[in-house]
């Protein structure tokens, strides 16, 4: 009992620390990609930057705008961080911890429930920019969730179980078979976490800061943490599903970090196109493709079943 509590506390602590360092990683990598150095003044080559960022954000003046719907405004960042951190308890590791039954469904539920705080935050900050940003973010998230779910179902049908331990392969060769699904999944994950080239929610040149325009210090911290924690989780999930990382070998952290760097690399490289192109990609390209892959993999699983019985 005590061990369970300790494990959950340690898990959350380590995730939050990792998220802090992912923000530093992103700033340094984006800096080097743009021929400049990222933050390197604090600590050794900038290692203490996230902590000073956290301190700065927490002692900022936290404004409370008039005309703001207080309850939803204050609760939305809390709920989205809660949901993003809940995603993490589904990961089965031999160190024990949680064994959620039907983890795939739990993950899909968490991703879908993460839409509500975005909507709430945009609506309750009584500003047109926030409303627009949140509507666009919500429409984008729900569009890509459909193809994400169908792609996950393609993996589920071959293993005939929702448990993550069966879905995790042991060798990297699995990506040769699942290559198209992996690519589609990566694109959906990029769109789910509102990352460039899909970061229309906070398109910096378009809408000031999207749905967190009206949030000052503490709310912004929570949104930020939620976004980076879902980036980290998506990278972890990709690297164990498709790249065959075995639990807690060095493989796992290395490949997860490589995926995070890929997310950041994509941010520094690709431009942001138009919103209707984003919607077209989701509904006209990825959805039919995902459905067809699901059809293919149901056939594959039927074949496997026939030949194994």
């Amino acid at each position: 009992m005590f061990m369970i509590v300790l494990k959950s506390i340690l898990l959350m602590m380590f995730i939050l620390i990792s998220v802090a360092f992912v923000t530093l990683l992103e700033r340094k990598i984006l800096g080097y990609m743009q021929k400049r150095k990222g933050p390197n003044k604090l600590g050794f080559k900038g290692i203490l930057q996230p902590f000073s960022d956290a301190v700065k954000l927490l002692v900022k003046e936290s404004l409370l705008l008039n005309l703001v719907n207080l309850m939803i405004y204050l609760l939305s960042p809390v709920v989205i961080l809660l949901i993003s951190l809940f995603l993490w308890v589904t990961y089965p590791s031999f160190l024990g911890g949680l064994e959620v039954s039907l983890p795939i469904i739990f993950i899909l539920c968490c991703l879908s429930a993460g839409v509500y705080p975005i909507l709430g935050s945009g609506w309750s900050s009584n500003s047109k920019y926030s409303m627009l940003g949140s509507l666009r973010a919500v429409a984008q998230t729900i569009s890509y969730e459909v193809s994400l779910a169908i792609l996950l179902l393609s993996l589920v049908v071959v293993n005939s179980s929702f448990s993550l331990k069966k879905l995790f392969s042991d060798s990297m060769l699995i990506i040769l078979i699942l290559f198209p699904i992996a690519i589609l999944w990566l694109i959906s994950a990029l769109a789910e976490t509102n990352r460039t080239p899909f970061d229309f929610a906070e398109g910096e040149s378009e809408l000031v800061s999207g749905f967190n325009t009206e949030y000052s210090a503490s709310g912004f911290v929570l949104f930020f943490l939620a976004e980076y924690s879902s980036i980290l989780f998506m990278s972890l999930f990709f690297s164990v599903l498709f790249l065959g990382s075995v639990d807690l070998f060095l493989n796992l952290s290395f490949l997860t970090s490589m995926l995070v760097i890929l997310f950041i690399w994509v941010r520094g490289t690709l431009p942001r196109l138009r919103y209707d192109k984003l919607m077209e990609l989701a509904w006209k390209i990825m959805l039919p493709l995902s459905l067809m892959y699901l059809l293919l993999f149901t056939g594959v699983s039927l074949m496997i079943y026939i030949f194994s019985v």
């Binding site: 959950s8 936290s62 005309l67 308890v89 047109k128 005939s160 079943y305």
Partner: protein, 118 residues
């Protein structure tokens, strides 16, 4: 396992609560000015009401998403019962269901519901 979830939930809420309450305590005193407290609109006074008019295209996207989400919810049990069902029935059922869904996507495409227009 429910204990784990509840425990981690409680812990996260504690952290979040601490973070949210440190900020007004340690932070600078809030000086309420007209310019700071009004919604941001690039320096001008906010025009009109705070919310947008109802936008049909977002509503349409949400409705289409709803349909496909219900479809996914119906697909979920179908994927895991292969070992405990008649192979032929499972195969045919799956095929017909997915074909009807794909036909639905293509039909909507043809009708123009997936175009991003007004």
């Amino acid at each position: 396992s429910v204990v784990f979830l509840l425990g981690s939930g409680v812990f996260i809420m504690l952290i979040i609560g601490v973070m949210l309450s440190i900020s007004p305590l340690l932070g600078s005193k809030q000086i309420s000015e007209y310019d700071k407290n009004s919604p941001f609109e690039c320096g001008f006074d906010p025009m009109g009401i705070g919310h947008l008019n109802f936008s049909v295209r977002f509503f349409l996207i949400a409705v289409i998403f709803l349909i496909f989400d219900v479809e996914i919810a119906l697909l979920l049990p179908l994927m895991v019962i292969l070992s405990s069902s008649n192979m032929m029935i499972w195969g045919v059922l799956n095929l017909i269901f997915l074909l009807v869904l794909s036909f639905g996507v293509f039909y909507e495409w043809w009708e123009g519901a997936l175009d991003w227009k007004i």
